[in-house]
Structures are given as C-alpha cells and as structure tokens.
Amino acid sequence: MKAKTLFDKIWDEHIVRSIEDGPDVLYIDRHYIHEVTSPQAFNGLKERGIPVFRPDKTIATADHNIPTKDQHLAIRNELARNQVETLSENCRIYGIELFGMNHPKNGIVHVIGPELGYTLPGMTIVCGDSHTATHGAFGTIAFGIGTSEVEMVLATQCILQPKPKKMRISVNGVLGKGVTSKDIIMYIISEISTGGGTGYFVEFSGSAITGLTMEARMTICNMAIEMGARGGLIAPDETTFDYLKRLPDIPGKVDLDSAVAQWRKLKSDNEAKFDRELEFDASLIKPMITYGTNPGMGITVDGSIPIKEKNSKEATASFLKSLDYMGFKPGMKLLGHPIDYIFLGSCTNGRIEDFRAFAQIINGRKKAPGVTALIVPGSKKVEELMASEGLTEIYNKAGFEVRQPGCSSCLAMNEDKIPAGKYAVSTSNRNFEGRQGPGARTLLASPLTAAAAAITGKITDPREFIN
C-alpha cells in the first residue's frame, strides 16, 4: 500500500467522484456560514427553487458586521443591520442553526466552531472566509471559499476542488520565553512570502508544533492562508483529544472513545512524500512585527526594516509604496516607535489563552495614556471565561475596556476602525493598506507584543516584561 500523507487520507476519504482532467467532487462534513458571504448564495437557492441539502451540517453566526458595544441595541448601520437580518431570515427559512448576535454561543465563526465541538478530526470543513484554515489545527481539511462555492455546498453538500500539492513545514526546537505561536507563523511567512505556499496545502509538524496547545495551533493554521496556501493542518494527538474530551458538549451522536480510536490513525505515514518540505528552528524565532502592507513584510521586533525585498536586486515600486504608506523608511528600526492603537482579538488571537497572555503583562500596570485599546473577545464563551477568571477585572484596573465579541477591527466592517495615519499594533492577521480603516497603519504582532506596546505606548520587545 502506498504511503499517504494525512492530507491525502482525509481528501481521498471524501471524494464522491473524480472528474477526468478536472477537479474532485469533495463531500463537506461541516459548512460554517456568516452574514457577509452568504446572502447571494441563498439568493441563488431561491432562484433555483431548491432547499439547503444538509441544514444539519451547516452552522451560522453573525460576526463580521456586528458592533462590539451595546449589542443589546439594534445595529445602527442600515446595511449591516440588513445583512444580519438577512442571515437570520435565511436560517429561519432553510432550517439552519444560527448563533446570532446576543446568543450565548455567538462569536467569530472560527472561534465558536472549535469551542462548541463542531470541528472534529478528519473532517472536511469550508466557510466563505479565508481563515477557515484555522480548523486545520484539529487535523481537518479546512479552507476558505467564495460565495458561489457557498451556494454549491448549500445546494449539494459538495464542492468541486482541484487537489492541491502538499507541503510539510517542520518546526523543531524550543521556543524562547516571550515567543508565541503567532511569532512562529509570522516568521515562516516572512521567510517564504505571501505567495510561497500558493498551490499547496500545508502540514505543520515538529516538536515546536506538537508542543503547542490547541489554541496556539489554531493561530498557526489560521495564518496558513497568508502564505498563499490553500490551508494548513496539524495531525491530531493527545493534546487534541484532551481538548475535545474537556468540552462540555460534542454535538451529534459522537461516541468520543471510539472516535478517538479512529482519530489516532489520522497521521501521515512515515514514508509519505510531500511535494515540498521546509524546516525551521524554533529557538531562532523572536517576537515579530510587520512593517509593511502584507503579512510577509515582517521583522523581529528589535530588527531593522530591510532596504529591499528578499529576492529582488533593488527595491520594487510596490515595496517603496508600502513603506511610504506606513510612513517608514528602509533600514529604520521600529523599537521605540510610538503607536496610537492596539487591537487584541480576531480569529487569530481572540481566544482565552490570548487574553491570559496579554493580562500577564498588563497586570499591575497601566495602559499608556495616548493609546486607544480595542479588546475584543472572540466569543461570548471567551468573554464569560475572562470574567470568571478575574481577567476582566485585571483589564479594567489597568485602564482597558473589554468589548463584546465580533471580528471588529480586524477588517473594520463595523465602527471599530483605526483612523487614517494612526499606528495600530494588532493581533489580527492582515496589514493590507486600509484593512483596519482607510489610511490605517497596521503592525501585526502577538498578544504579548501588543500588551507591551499598550503599556509603553511604543513598539516594545515583550521579553522585557517576561521574567
């Protein structure tokens, strides 16, 4: 029998039909939907006069367009309100479970899926959102799709996909103090660029990866898309099974003990071949920060901005435009640069461990006076945990207001926009021009680096605060 990668095992299990010289028809186990990328898909169903094929495998949330304050009031923005109401109406008509705003299980789609037990090893998972890759942390094939494909899955629970190539990225060694999984993935993207993974599905492995908690693994897989990869997965192991066993509930008739026995088989065979393999040494990774306008333009927090891109003979027009937008110069150091905003949240770093990490640094200290902080839990569950663990109190004492869950400032569809020209250290996943608001200047970083900046009001090495 030919040796197979984990990716192959899951993919092959889900092929309904292979089209000659064409894509595979892939069955989808879990379809997550939200208010922004679903309306036109539902319109398509209406035009065809057909129902949702498997509403029981579809889970909905409202997260992108909702406010993160006063959620008990009606959404003020008319278009946002309309979009959220459209989702509610569609879920009602088609019989889909919706964890809408104010529902106790509401939150960012890629935060609530795993915490509610809807993401399980060996599944194929899609959502009209590129950070669907997050769920790969559980050993799933999870990827983002466009609205036309959302319609496809709603109609038939299947999708047409050409099979990507396979890449394995191994990270071995011990992570230094104050260095997080966010820094690992930012480092990898800075090394291989935002196109480095295009055409591939990535498996992350190695001791530094298996040593991570589930939430830390989700941060890594979440940003696989930022290197252009279709998605990223990590083989399930005891850490995964413990996480799932400790959940209050796993929906559906899942016998966890027999499921775990099956899930233990979900790993790449020793002899399995990957189309490309990369290796990194975790001990060399330091806290990272971006300086430019794509997630690959990152340096160590104590480093200097390069004078040109890695593989160019000289600085390209795009490179210089990017620096100009950010108000930075080639060769400049970022340490000590004043900042205006910090954003803690998003599907990348909006889980309880991220809020604990941030609290570690702010505890007993005060937010810098010139800094505006947007602290946004990834879900209602995270918000509750923060309160019950006493974290909310720590935040409040330090001068930080904790908001309500939502995608918020990550893409700033709602009011949580960073004003033009302002510098924001953000624990989200993209620093494109205008991403957090027209003219906003995003610096991506880990929760620890964001916390350090929030206290000092400048870009700071978080290791100064770690004993």
Partner: protein, 200 residues
C-alpha cells in the same frame, strides 16, 4: 443557470504594474455589506480611484482616459488575501473579462473561474514586456484564445500558451454552471453518504 460564454477576446489593456495586489484593495471591506451581486464595479479599487475628499485620483490608471479595454494586466501575486468573491464581481462588473499576470493567488483564481473572468498566467518576462509596451503605446492590443489556450501580443506577435484546468475551460467555453453539474449527481452524493453512514 447558463452564464456568459468565453471564446476569443481581443482588446486593449489597462496596466496595473503593482505586485501583491490584495482583495482588500480590489474591494474594501466596507463595501461587502450588500446582499446582492450588483453594482460592485462602482467600488472597484475604490481607495485608489478616489481621494479621501471624494474627488477622483487622476494619478490612478483607471482614471486615465488614455487606457481602456476589457483586459487588466497586473503584477505578480494578484488577488492575494481575503476569499471575498466580491473582488471578482467588482472586476467583472467594471467591465473586465480577463486578468493577465505571472502569478495569481489560489482562492482568487478559483473565484474568477467560477464567474467567467479568465485568469491568464504568462511568464514574468513577457508580463514585463507587455506592461512596458502598453504604457508606451496604450493602443496595444492582445488576443486571448481560450480554445487554443494562447495569449498573443498583437503588434509584436509574441504568443505563449497558458494553463487552465480543462474542466473549468469547458465550463467557460460553454457558459456552464458548476451547481447544475453537482445537482445532476444528487443520487451519487446520497449513495456516498449512505456508504459512510453520514446522513443521520
């Protein structure tokens, strides 16, 4: 439902000599609140086309009357970032029918093929030559033949083959819809579910 067919396209081009153009630039998030597919062309490259004051940014290529056409020529790694299909709708609604580059992001490429917008991959050196030619002479025309899978710069005669998934090529040539195809195999899907005991 039948879509517009793609056959042979001959047109002048609009040059965008920038690399890593992401979908947040193509269609900023604040325009994603629509519940239908219409009108996205108005907001294509919104923050590059218009200044903060609302007046047109005459420096941006789409506002330069010297350039016209249904083919967008862009620097490598076009369409990176968010999966928003709205980016493709904006490009298509504005009037483009093909995007030419040396490298496309995966999800954008998929979304394009699903909407009748043809992504054409040409070698980097030819892309540079084309970009320079168009900027020197905006009347430069290109010819894209989907059946033959060839891309030609008409004045110079430079011709290359481009790759496209054969299934998608057939769909675009015939104006076919993926969903009709999948719906036609419903029985196979339910058999698959039964074989894996997936339907509860």
């Amino acid at each position: 439902m039948p879509k517009e067919k793609f056959d042979i396209l001959e047109s002048t081009c609009i040059p965008l000599p920038l690399e890593n153009v992401d979908t947040d630039q193509i269609i900023p998030a604040r325009f994603l609140s629509a519940t239908s597919r219409e009108g996205f062309g108005n907001n294509l490259f919104r923050d590059w086309r218009y200044k903060k004051t609302g007046e047109k940014n005459i420096e941006f290529v789409l506002n330069n009357p010297v350039y016209s056409g249904t083919v967008l020529v862009a620097g490598k790694n076009f369409g990176t970032g968010s999966s928003r299909e709205h980016a493709v709708w904006a490009i298509f609604d504005y009037g483009f029918r093909a995007v030419v580059s040396s490298f496309f992001a995966d999800i954008f490429m998929n979304n394009s093929l699903n909407n009748g917008l043809l992504p054409v991959i040409i070698p980097e050196d030819l892309l540079k030559k084309l970009m320079d030619l168009i900027q020197k002479d905006p009347s430069t025309r290109v010819k894209i033949d989907l059946e033959k899978q060839t891309f030609t710069i008409i004045p110079t005669g430079d011709t290359v083959s481009f790759n496209i998934n054969p299934y998608k090529k057939e769909c675009m040539l015939k104006g076919l819809d993926d969903i009709d195809f999948l719906l036609s195999m419903k029985n196979k899907i339910t058999s698959f579910e039964k074989s894996k005991s997936l339907s509860e």
